[in-house]
Amino acid sequence: MTRAVSLRRLAGLASLGFLLLAGCAKPARDDLYVLLPGKEGQSSGAVTVESGGKQAILDQPYEAARVKEPGRVEPGTVTQEQVQQAFGSALAAQPPRPVSFTLYFLENRDELTPESKPILAQVIAEIARFPAPEIVVIGHTDRVGTLTRNDALSLQRAGRMRDELVKAGVDPARVRVEGRGEREPLVPTADEVAEPRNRRVEINIR
């Protein structure tokens, strides 16, 4: 019994010694660069890591490069567990991803279509998820009517949406309103063409 305990203690001491040694042998630098998967798990793009004239390209999920001294770039991969261990706090502090909604309007009016009305409730719920939200509301029209009239109508549509958000408790100081008139149609058309998909307001939240 006593013997078992002392053996265990010995083993413990030995592993402590190993840790200390490992600590001393640890290189001065242990930089780690990791590419994360994008949406739906596929590659999210690429990152080039350049150090002292040497380069590595990371273009696969969890592909990694270690740099222990400038000019020594070691390629490799890491597991999700290793990512959590090394970057858990940084990942937990990520702000919510910016989101964008498009709502459609009745012809020549600042009234939402029946289909778009429920989206407004979604927008309001979404805003509540954002700390210190920044909201940009951009109004558009189709190409029926004059440029001047459409500039005014697009601003009126955006302003109406801002009013709805404020009514739902959103701080008006956090909402910016813009009108683009018929200048940025979603669906390009000839002038004076009625196009429901162009009668819209974009609401961007970040």
């Binding site: 660069y33 994008g38 793009g45 350049e50 940084a90 702000p95």
Partner: protein, 152 residues
């Protein structure tokens, strides 16, 4: 003629002052997440990085051993740093219409998670992240950076 020259000179002075002012007050993003002690160093002053605080081009954001911070930039880039980190926003310029500009930051130590935004999407050379040992080029992506001199 002399009067004309003088007024030209003063007009130019006004332009120079206006331009300097613009550079000095360049808004780059806002703090969205702040845990523990997080500070923004700006022109020799330190201010707490509270949720909603503005981050400017030239700022250095630091986190303590219990700190972490998340920042959303004007181009929708997301940068978040873990404990014991020093992150400098070296340069941020973003044209909201063309999406052209530049975003250069450096992680002097610590950990950083990046989701690139509209700048990196519009031009592959617009976004760079530096560490004391490496320079990262960003082609529209999500990635992680850890750097340090091993003293901690």
């Amino acid at each position: 003629m002399r009067a004309a020259l003088a007024s030209l000179a003063s007009a130019m002075l006004v332009i120079v002052i206006a331009a300097t002012d613009l550079v000095g007050a360049q808004e780059a993003g806002h703090v969205k997440v702040s845990k523990g002690t997080v500070q923004i160093e700006r022109g020799g002053q330190k201010v707490p990085a509270t949720v909603g605080a503005t981050v400017q081009s030239g700022d250095v954001v630091t986190t303590s051993s219990d700190g972490s911070v998340g920042i959303t930039f004007l181009d929708n880039s997301l940068l978040s740093a873990g404990p014991n980190s020093v992150l400098a926003i070296d340069r941020f310029a973003f044209d909201t219409t063309t999406h052209q500009g530049a975003f250069e930051s450096s992680l002097q130590k610590g950990t950083l998670a990046v989701v690139s935004g509209k700048l990196a999407k519009a031009s592959p050379d617009a976004m760079k992240v530096k560490t004391p040992a490496a320079v990262l080029g960003v082609r529209g992506t999500e990635f992680l950076v850890r750097t340090g001199d091993g003293k901690e």
